[in-house]
Symmetry: C2
Subunit: 334 residues, 2 copies
Amino acid sequence: MKSREVQLISRPDGMPSRDDFKIVETETGDPRSGEVVIRNLFMSVDPYMRGRMRDGKSYVPPFQIGKTMDGGAVGQVVVSESEDLSEGDYVLSSFGWREAFCCAGDRVKPLGELEAPPSAYLGVMGMPGMTAYTGLLGVVSLREGETVFVSGAAGAVGSAAGQIAKIKGCRVIGCAGSAAKVAYLKDDLGFDYAFDYHDGDLRGHLREGAFEGLDVYFDNVGGVLLQAAISSMREFGRIALCGAISMYNASEPTPGPTNLPRAIGLGLSIRGFLVSHYGDMQEDFMRDMSSWLASGRLTYRETVMEGIESSPDALIGLFTGANTGKMVVRLSEV
Amino acid sequence: MKSREVQLISRPDGMPSRDDFKIVETETGDPRSGEVVIRNLFMSVDPYMRGRMRDGKSYVPPFQIGKTMDGGAVGQVVVSESEDLSEGDYVLSSFGWREAFCCAGDRVKPLGELEAPPSAYLGVMGMPGMTAYTGLLGVVSLREGETVFVSGAAGAVGSAAGQIAKIKGCRVIGCAGSAAKVAYLKDDLGFDYAFDYHDGDLRGHLREGAFEGLDVYFDNVGGVLLQAAISSMREFGRIALCGAISMYNASEPTPGPTNLPRAIGLGLSIRGFLVSHYGDMQEDFMRDMSSWLASGRLTYRETVMEGIESSPDALIGLFTGANTGKMVVRLSEV
């Protein structure tokens, strides 16, 4: 089966550009015994991928120059030589940035009966949704009645985090990068207070949104937002470091918060995490998220780019604020 | 009874100087019913006091201009009109920076039968010792066999922390500010590796001292040492933020660590604390520390300055590295 794939051809310094990528045509080949051919329906672009474009040790290996990029994708079995998978089965895989591929049947994850549209398994029902869930319920052990601030709140992780905090009976403050996103947080997602981080006085906004300070900060952004949040925390406040999207394209080291010593007197806790650190929460997450989606207590948006040729733009768009909710690339029709 | 006291007369910008203080003579007055007159034997100077010299909200109220400074002191009852205290009783109090004072008997803490020399109750048996104890056993839940880095390791808190970690079966790396202090850490306190933080490559030292990285960092210093430690942490490493002495005299905001996003992939935990957050560990601390001192498993040094007129120099000396172990000021002979 023919497939087009996206290769990394140069490592960007600063913001990635289209020229860092190349689209090549390949052929999946026929499956041998135990293998399957998968046609991807949607592929995911995620902020963490920017880190993998650098050469150097990180928590995931770097993308290799001249090789196809990988990442989350949801697809359907086209041909199966595996006993465990049948034609038409929906599967989650980590071979994204390609339209189709052939691999051993046990290297993809069957999704069974879908409880949401396929693309949702890359977002609210997938890694970003579970990141929000584990960050709040695992890392900072959110309690009812607390005041929670979420940055990057209109993104895939942030929009789930803010809504989970609302479901858990918290006061929720969010920030995002445009008036339309701020309106989305307030009007659609039920945030108690939301502001555009371009609007000058971050501390002032946090004071207005959280009169008595923050109990929890869910950080997707880092940089000046982390600094403002540290200055706004109450005694024994907890910060979950989930992402630092403001810093991912920096060519030079980005200054860290100057107010970290504030953590001493207030007994603040600042914890970084990956969703993979909380694998044991997977079942709880799937159960809760399915139920929240079914009841309409939690909603989501997606920004969908069309065709594999748009995938570099989709990735770049994460850093320019092009997405509301999860950014996905549609690779073929369901 | 006559007393000399130290008042703050101006708020320093940067390093404090003698001119920021004034010594005044007062009279304690006679005790009324329930009151006692205490003659202080030793008073404490501690790094946290620098923060109290600033005007502004912090976890302890600022010292007031034209008022006597307070802080830990150990003394003896001279006259008692309290049923609970007798002449000669040793007491711990928070009215330091004065030779003698009169107060209600319940505002001082009787020390009972001394298990160590009086000055030790300002150091290893007191707030700094318990800070080390709670930081390691409370904040980061130290486990046997872990690798621990302590900065400011020749100070009152650091020297106790390093030794407690050794007692708990850990590999201990320390840094301090002079060759003599480094020798003290290695030769007297049994640190596995020690270095002078003035010696260029901090990361290189940490790599040499901790081949496989750090499980725990006990931070007394902040700034570049915190940054180097973050770069040296292993997965799921824990950092106890105890102090940030490198930053206390800064007139301008001190840059924070640029590598905080490293905490995400590694699942690092960074927690600030005050000893007062762990009041429930007081009994365990007193029991363990008494036993370690009695058995010689834990030792301590003091730097003793003579007379209340030396107390401003004693405080300033904390920031110039004048002390090894606890810095105290002797106010009268035992």
